[in-house]
């Protein structure tokens, strides 16, 4: 629900913006007195619970994951609580098989297609929101908020029903539109059609976040800039590329980054809709790790896949991460 860089908009931020507007001065001396200095340890004490919780509940599983990935851990070892180190065998097994590389390729393509669609359609919807009259905007916002708020598992179940082979409304519409071969089409029978349903579901659920926040961001673009642009004879397109877009760029970067993470990690949608089927063909990395590790009870191998998944995610997002880290350092 939120964006990571400072200065970009979040769902709740209209309120924040409002509050940031400098208040009329109360008196000559108001607001200039420095806050009383309490002990220098105070901020660290306040941060301690959050840090400890993160370290224990996030750091420990990460380390544990790393350790498990170097162990031979199958049902026998699991039940007898045996720890059998097997060096890099798990990694060798995973990396030398062709399965893993297929899944990586699939995950990257899947993420790319979804994120491009989400960003493109989300941005267009956001710009449309900015252009609409008040009443129509409220209507569209209502629709967006409903789709956004829909719990993932409920949405997944609804999409199964929409695309059901018998009595599914999508097949009925396609049939009526003259596409008679689709009347009893089994959407979950092939890789491409299953992915189409999953993509539609994810895009449908993700557009509202992009659109609503982008709309909020466009409201922060100063009006004078548009006036200046039109005085200079800029048309609608020109004023978009030279005024709106530069303003939205940081927001678009941050949102793309978030969407990449979210789509790449998407688990419930894919798992609940068809458990990675048909025939393992819609397994992305998180699903693959789960099916191998938990489903087939090769916990060590599963941990190795998990670790590799985290690496892939870091590689994909490294460009943006470096940018953010650099930004934060510069501001030190």
């Amino acid at each position: 629900m939120s964006v990571q860089t400072e200065g970009t908009d979040t769902a709740g931020e209209p309120a924040v913006h409002k509050a940031r507007v400098p208040a009329p001065p109360r008196g000559e001396d108001g607001g200039s007195a420095p806050p009383a200095r309490r002990g220098a340890a105070a901020p660290y004490l306040l941060l301690l619970p959050a840090l400890l919780a993160t370290l224990i509940l996030l750091g420990w599983p990460l380390v544990k994951n790393g350790m498990l990935s170097f162990q031979n851990l199958n049902p026998r070892q699991l039940i007898q609580h045996l720890t059998e180190w097997n060096g890099g065998d798990n990694y060798e097994e995973v990396l030398s098989g062709s399965d893993f590389w297929h899944v990586v390729e699939r995950s990257v393509v899947f993420t790319a297609v979804n994120v491009v669609l989400i960003m493109l359609l989300g941005t267009l919807t956001g710009l449309l929101l900015a252009r609409l009259g008040k009443r129509m905007r409220l209507l569209l916002l209502l629709g967006l908020v409903l789709a956004w708020a829909m719990p993932v598992i409920a949405a997944t179940t609804v999409y199964q029903w929409l695309f059901a082979q018998r009595f599914g409304v999508v097949n009925w519409v396609l049939d009526k539109l003259g596409w008679h071969s689709m009347a009893d089409y089994n959407w979950f029978g092939s890789q491409l059609s299953t992915f189409s349903v999953i993509t539609l579901l994810i895009v449908w659920q993700s557009i509202p976040f992009v659109a609503i926040n982008l709309y909020a961001a466009t409201t922060t673009v100063p009006r004078e800039l548009y006036e200046a642009a039109s005085l200079d004879g800029a048309g609608a397109w020109k004023s978009f590329t030279s005024v709106t877009f530069p303003f939205l760029r940081p927001f678009l970067y941050a949102t793309t980054f978030l969407e990449v993470i979210w789509v790449f990690k998407a688990f419930p949608q894919i798992f609940a809709i068809n458990e990675g089927g048909p025939d393992h063909l819609t397994e992305t990395l998180p699903i693959y790790a789960f099916v191998e590790g938990v489903g087939n009870q090769h916990f060590g191998v599963g941990a190795a896949i998990s670790f590799l998944t985290i690496l892939v995610l870091l590689v994909i997002t490294s460009y943006y991460l470096r940018m953010v880290l650099k930004q934060e350092e510069d501001e030190l």
Binding site: Q4, A23, Y44, L144, A149, L313
Partner: protein
């Protein structure tokens, strides 16, 4: 700028089409849930339910352990959100109001933590929880859900704390409050909308969480609603009426909360407070 008739019509037309596209799945869920089975499995879809029945809801609610699962979901979600809010409030206050060495480092840490791929860490978490003999318990779920939402809660709350004008706090301190008192009496009440808006994200995450409960809790008495819902369809075959009723029941609290809190979150935070 004058726009042509076409230029005025197409945005509205697109908006209506988009609205329909976004709302339809939600509408279809509720519509199916209220339709008698005959209208659900009909050759031509019944777009507007005329014979309304509550039978599907009765069936969903009658399913084994339904109320136990509702109670589990509520317990876990509410505890996780409260836990993360309390921890986050301390951290957010420090990050928003105090200057100290390493402040940026902490912020970056929480940003990175927000990226954590919990979905792929379930095996490690399973091992840890099992080694501590806490499988089939709501405690690990609560704790892990709290930490899942903690980084974002901190980062968002930081914005809300920063938005409360410093002058308010300072004038309270001039009037003789300690910093703690100033926080409790002045900032905290103003933070309420921010807390609610922030908790919304936590509610959604915890209410929806699926992979962790899938692996940790095999005992149906200790499961939560997402797991139940995902298995509901398998258990009830093609009974779409009951499945949609179950989905509706699951979605309703979040839909209500979302619409309610969205508005609360945006209703002016402090405008006017300083002027007074």
């Amino acid at each position: 700028m004058k726009r042509s008739v076409f230029g005025r019509i197409w945005p509205n037309a697109t908006a209506v089409i988009l609205f329909a596209g976004f709302v339809f799945p939600v509408y279809w869920m509720f519509a199916t849930a209220f339709k008698p089975t005959g209208d659900i499995i009909s050759e031509n879809p019944v777009w507007f339910p005329t014979n309304i029945t509550a039978g599907h809801f009765a069936k969903a609610v009658d399913a084994d352990h339904f109320w136990t699962l509702v109670l589990n979901s509520i317990t876990v979600t509410v505890s996780a959100v409260l836990l993360s809010l309390v921890i986050a409030l301390f951290a957010a206050f420090a990050l928003a109001r105090m200057r100290f060495r390493g402040r940026r480092g902490f912020i970056v840490t929480f940003m990175l933590a927000q990226m954590a791929p919990w979905e792929v860490m379930v095996i490690a978490i399973y091992m840890l929880v099992r080694d501590n003999e806490m499988l089939d318990s709501l405690v690990p779920l609560t704790v892990f859900y709290a930490i899942m939402v903690l980084p974002l809660t901190i980062l968002t709350l930081r914005g809300y704390v920063a938005a409360v004008p410093k002058e308010l706090e300072e004038s309270a301190m001039v009037d003789g409050c300690t910093r703690t008192q100033a926080f409790v009496r002045v900032i905290f009440p103003l933070l309420a909308p921010g807390l609610m808006a922030t908790s919304l994200f936590g509610f959604i995450t915890a209410w929806n969480e699926f992979p962790l409960v899938l692996i940790l809790n095999k005992d149906i008495e200790k499961q939560t609603l997402p797991l139940w819902l995902s298995q509901f369809q398998t258990a009830f075959g093609d009974d779409w009426g009951a499945t949609m009723a179950a989905s509706s029941l699951f979605a309703l609290p979040i839909l209500i909360l979302f619409i309610f809190l969205q508005r609360k979150a945006v209703s002016g935070l402090t405008d006017g407070a300083v002027k007074g």
